[in-house]
């Protein structure tokens, strides 16, 4: 429906305040959801929520960035920018998921990790990093869905998963278009150009092999939230079943090794003059011959 939109159009849609946020997905898709609070260390972060509930017949642990629908809510939610205690709550719930062998579903929607003084004091970097390693090694299935704004490390911190799904108008970027424009052109107003050049749309990410599926929005999500959420739920369920099938037939070790191989394989570089594309797909070498590089190191565990 929105195929003709440019990157900046999609940035606007991804940020639309009326767009369904994590709790909208959770309330519609997760039965008897109980939100669980706190990192048991310092605080309870309202920008990163988590809990437990029933997703289509199985108990799951759910994590999500939560933006507000209005200013008052956004202040309470810190505009969806988690502080270290948010990531540490997520880590606690990931450990709980592992303990009880529950799949993890995450809903990604954040402009960035909080850049405040308190967050620095309490180790924002450490908190994100601990989540990355925990999710990379967790022995339960995980499906991450980018439902709005996938902002840099703040988004990455709860999106290490066996599948990364993206809503059609969601974005996922190494830096906000505004920040990128400031760096490249010393001018935040160049954000639309930066959005284009950064290749941050769902279709771009799918093309790069980073997103596993683009979930089409009936129209833009905020115009038909319920239909969008159900489509997302169907996609999540389909991928979760697929991952559960992998565990049933090949075991959890295979799943964890496959997850690692995926991340191990991300990146493109040239070695001895040849373009190497990991992920097992094909690229065009500078000398004009197509080739696939062997993945001798991938999944070497």
């Amino acid at each position: 429906m929105t195929e003709q939109l440019n990157a900046w159009d999609r940035v606007q849609l991804a940020r639309n305040a009326a767009r369904p946020h994590a709790l909208d997905y959770i309330n519609e898709l997760v039965k008897d959801f109980v939100e669980l609070h706190g990192d048991r260390l310092f605080g309870d972060d309202h920008a990163l929520i988590g809990g437990i509930g029933d997703f289509r017949g199985r108990t799951v642990v759910v994590l999500g960035h939560q933006k507000g629908a209005n200013t008052r809510e956004n202040i309470d939610r810190n505009f969806g920018m988690p502080r270290p205690e948010g990531y540490r709550k997520a880590l606690r719930l990931i450990r709980q998921a592992e303990k009880f062998n529950l799949p993890v579903l995450t809903f990604i929607d954040t402009p960035a990790a909080d850049p405040g003084l308190g967050s620095e004091e309490r180790g924002q970097g450490n908190a994100i990093a601990e989540n990355l390693i925990a999710m990379a090694a967790m022995r339960v299935p995980a499906i991450a869905t980018v439902v709005g704004e996938g902002g840099s490390g703040g988004a990455l911190a709860i999106s290490i998963a066996d599948r990364i799904l993206m809503l059609e108008n969601a974005i996922y970027a190494v830096a906000s278009p505004e920040a990128c424009a400031t760096i490249l052109w010393k001018d935040a107003a160049q954000a639309p150009a930066a959005a284009e050049i950064l290749r941050i749309t769902a279709h771009d990410l799918h093309g790069f092999g980073i997103a596993d599926e683009v979930i089409p929005e009936p129209v833009a999500a905020h115009l038909q939230p319920s239909a969008t959420i159900q489509r997302a739920g169907d996609a999540i369920e389909r991928h979760l079943r697929d991952v559960e099938q992998t565990i049933a037939t090949m075991g959890i070790d295979t799943l964890v090794a496959t997850r690692y191989a995926k991340y191990r394989g991300i990146g493109r570089w040239v070695d001895n003059g040849e373009t190497i594309l990991r992920n097992g797909t094909v690229t065009n070498a500078p000398n004009g011959t197509e080739h696939v590089t062997s993945m001798q190191h991938s999944g070497s565990r």
Binding site: P115, E120, G123, A129, G153, A173, G267, R268, W269
Partner: protein, 308 residues
């Protein structure tokens, strides 16, 4: 300032151009903190630490390796990896490829990370050192791949891993491929941990962004140099967002120590001994079947390496 420190290192990483510059011994170097002047020769002897105020100047990868590892033990690997430019990135009329090539000529490296094996106070290690002069040591695909290979080299050779990091942030020019290196490198460390091999992370000035939010803070011991500025968000970003002036000493190594984020602040001159001691404490006996391969300098084909 950094440029003034450049010299022909004892270890010379391979670089595209492979041009060498000779720097006169009688060059004056000014401390950016207290303005103290010293001869470049004296500065080298002082490990580029100001004798007056103790300011630790930034080092190139080559200088870092020289000041940290046992002389003549460094062997570089994967020096041939360079950028692939998956986005065909051009901004302000400058192509990523051209920018990287220029950085390569300046720094004598192909990207922002130099990896290899060495020994530190007799302890064999797999080593990864950032080159801040190469596009602010931003973490792109080459950086990530080289680091993961260094981790794999540690696992294969039963070596401790020592990373030395400074970074200005993400490699914008590789966009999401850059962000994903955070996940890739950190995930690889899970395997190092499973192998019960230590990761010692040395944070040096300046260290920000994706690096501090990934592999560099997932370490058994985190060490920083005195006065190094380290954080997730950069000071300017924080001031801009919070409209607060940052307190004196914010994001220094000493600040991080006080806030529980790092284990140790160690002056540059003491780093080899301290890291060597830690490696010795953590040293895991080579697995029985591999115990004769413990001499890591013979265990695999090194890439081109130059010793003086």
């Amino acid at each position: 300032m950094r440029e003034l420190f450049r010299r022909q290192p004892k270890f010379s990483p391979t670089a595209p151009g492979d041009e060498t510059r000779s720097i006169p011994d009688d060059l004056w170097i000014k401390c950016p903190k207290c303005n103290e002047l010293q001869y470049s020769k004296d500065a080298e002897r002082n490990l580029y630490v100001c004798p007056r105020c103790g300011h630790h100047a930034r080092l190139s990868a080559a200088q870092r390796i020289d000041t940290l590892v046992d002389e003549g033990t460094f062997i570089e690997y994967d020096a041939g990896l360079t950028q692939s430019d998956p986005l065909e990135f051009v901004a302000n009329g400058e192509a990523y490829r051209a920018k990287a090539a220029s950085a390569g000529r300046k720094t004598h490296t192909n990207d922002a990370l130099v990896c290899g094996t060495a020994s530190i106070c007799g302890q064999p290690v797999s080593l990864a050192v950032t080159e801040f002069g190469f596009m602010g040591a931003s973490m792109g695909s080459v950086y990530g791949e080289k680091l993961v290979r260094a981790i794999e080299r540690a696992i294969e050779g039963r070596l401790g891993l020592v990373t030395v990091s400074s970074s200005g942030g993400a490699r914008m020019h590789e966009s999401m491929f850059s962000l994903m290196q955070m996940a890739k490198t950190t995930a690889a460390l899970a395997h190092l941990g499973d192998a019960r091999l230590p990761h010692l992370s040395l944070l040096t000035d300046p260290c920000f962004g994706g690096v501090t939010a990934s592999y560099a803070t997932v370490a058994d011991v985190i060490v920083a140099e005195p006065g190094a500025i380290i954080g997730f968000a950069g000071p300017r970003v924080i001031e801009q967002v919070t409209r607060q002036k940052l307190p004196e000493g914010f994001q220094t190594a000493e600040f991080l120590l006080e806030h529980g984020m790092i284990d140790l602040v160690v002056p540059r001159a003491q780093l080899p001994e301290r890291i060597g001691t830690l490696l010795r404490h953590f040293a895991v006996q080579p697995e029985p079947a591999k115990s004769d391969d413990a001499d890591i300098t013979r265990s695999a084909e090194p890439a081109e390496a130059l010793h003086d």
